[in-house]
Symmetry: C2
């Protein structure tokens, strides 16, 4: 139990008792009217409804939930709303939950596992019907499992969490990278490198897999030397451009780990007098805002975070209604956005 300042809720709330007294019926009848039961006589219903309106009755969902052993809230835990990807995701989640009659309890962790523990602890006390969790980096899966307990279904989003057998929704990294690779191939490229990302990260592994898949489907065996690691930042990618060409001489195109890497590579290319989009083709991943604004604009994979959010909400609600269904692992679709950075190979 965390310490919390609390506050008088309503000055003097109107209750079912007030309504019952006000129109000479029992509280049970008022309750039946509130819940739309067909057992109530039409006239009685009308009288009660008039009285509800007259006294400006506000339903107390917490009390009802307590009595019925139900919940009408879902917790949404993300790292940071100031990341547009997660903000859109949250918007999608809230939209879908709202139309299903649930309210969203928000929690943010700022990528801190400690804050995440605290936030989850506090949210769980509000007895949500379920939880959508995009784990902070370096999360302790079993600890979260213990904290949340078996009563609350959880959907994990975006980042794999070991030690907890929860449903999992992630971007289709593999398919995305394959789409990018196939796009470059279709333009006539044969010498395609994969640039950026850390080989240990699961998303990098999946994207590399998609790249290799695309190459092989075109009858090309990807050269392991053409997988060039680098941190997913613009500066790092720009700095590693020389290395890319050392390891992949003759490459005419690169599938980049993400947009930041691609934008950095563009800078690096420019510094070498290579014109991105004309002399060298490249693709990103994420479709961040700058992707459409760079020169040339960046061909990339749009991840549609809002749709992801809706999807996540839907998956969680399914789990909520069917707690004993087998654990699900779902992949969210990704869409190729073709822009200027991916041109045909120079003649």
């Amino acid at each position: 139990m965390t310490t919390a300042r609390k506050t008088r809720a309503h000055r003097q709330a109107v209750t079912v008792t007030d309504i019952a007294k006000g129109c000479g019926v029992s509280r049970a009848t008022v309750s039946l009217v509130l819940r739309g039961s067909p057992l109530v006589h039409v006239d009685t219903r009308a009288r009660v409804e008039a009285e509800l309106k007259r006294q400006r009755y506000v339903y107390n969902r917490a009390a009802a939930n307590l009595r019925r052993q139900t919940s009408s809230s879902i917790a949404l835990v993300i790292n940071d709303l100031s990341n547009p990807f997660f903000a859109e995701f949250a918007a999608g989640v809230d939209e879908a939950l709202g139309s299903a009659g649930y309210v969203t309890l928000l929690g943010s962790t700022g990528e801190s596992p400690e804050r995440q523990q605290a936030v989850l602890g506090s949210l769980v006390e509000h007895a949500p019907a379920g939880m959508i969790l995009s784990p902070a980096e370096r999360s302790d899966g079993p600890a979260l499992r213990r904290l949340v307990g078996a009563g609350v279904p959880v959907l994990v989003f975006n980042r794999e969490l070991s030690g907890a057998d929860w449903d999992f929704l992630a971007l289709d990294n593999q398919r995305g990278a394959r789409l990018a690779t196939e796009h470059l191939l279709s333009l006539g490229h044969r010498h395609i490198a994969f640039f950026g990302g850390h080989a240990e990260s699961s998303s990098c592994q999946q994207r590399r897999l998609g790249y290799a898949e695309g190459m092989r489907a075109a009858g090309l065996e990807p050269d392991p030397a053409w997988l060039v690691e680098c941190s997913p930042t613009r500066a790092e990618a720009a700095g590693r451009t020389a290395e890319l060409f050392e390891r992949a001489p003759g490459a005419t195109a690169a599938v980049c780990y993400n947009d930041n890497v691609a934008l950095g590579l563009m800078l690096g290319l420019g510094a070498r007098g290579v014109r991105p989009g004309a002399d060298f083709a490249l693709t990103g991943f994420d479709d961040i805002t700058e992707a459409a604004l760079s020169t040339p604009s960046l061909t990339t994979l749009a991840v549609q975070p809002r749709e992801c959010g809706r999807h996540a909400a839907q998956l969680l609600l399914e789990r909520v209604h069917e707690p004993d269904a087998p654990v699900k692992r779902v992949v969210a679709p990704v869409r190729l956005v073709v822009r200027g950075s991916s041109g045909a190979p120079a003649a």
Copy 2:
């Protein structure tokens, strides 16, 4: 009462009764331990705490709130999380509420007054201790007042809401525009126009006021013809560039209503062969992402939405704890960010 699908909360929650039985004390004693009362003997406390841990007890805050007539949630209603300004604002609100021990109930309206009514109706049923509301455009103030009632304190953010005497937090439009004007004056400009916005909107009025103030403080009487209206979109602003120069011949600079207007004006200037930043100086408002990325980059007013959010949360909590304090109208600070678009006047 809106229809809502609901769900079993916990399979079989551990309650104070279970704990009481488990270590041979009364439920009252368990409750006292939970709430950290000094009335409980140290040994008893230790026994109870061990039992709480052993049975993995989870506090049921809803039940406690019901009994104590308190609330530990605050509703946050905004138009759209996919607007980075509001996403940052929400992040700030959630951060501040979280550290005060409240949980954030999220609601989004998508700028639709109808959805806003529905969302508020649903949120109110969860008995929040208060509400932070950034109203949808064309909101019906009195209707919202009626819906929310007197029991729930509300802080209105960003957009004035008539017909409801609620606390109000807004950006310091006036000071921001004055800062921009003074900046241009300090560079040597004397012929400064005000471009964009609708004269009816309260934010435009305030920004114009700040502009006039700045001009007068420098001994310059602003010419009403130099206030040129236009919708705050890029296309519209670009299209009205000619009109600006017809009405304000000899202007060497413009304070623009916001960043979109300024970016549009840049386009319009370019089309006339006028180089923004070199031949003509201009400023925006908002510091949207593109402001830093345009060529030249845009001098503008950063509105620090995250700080606004924290501030909003704090103001609301003050009201929650002191319901009868006089209504507050507060202005959030704004910071001038000097970039390339504001150069000295051409010689």
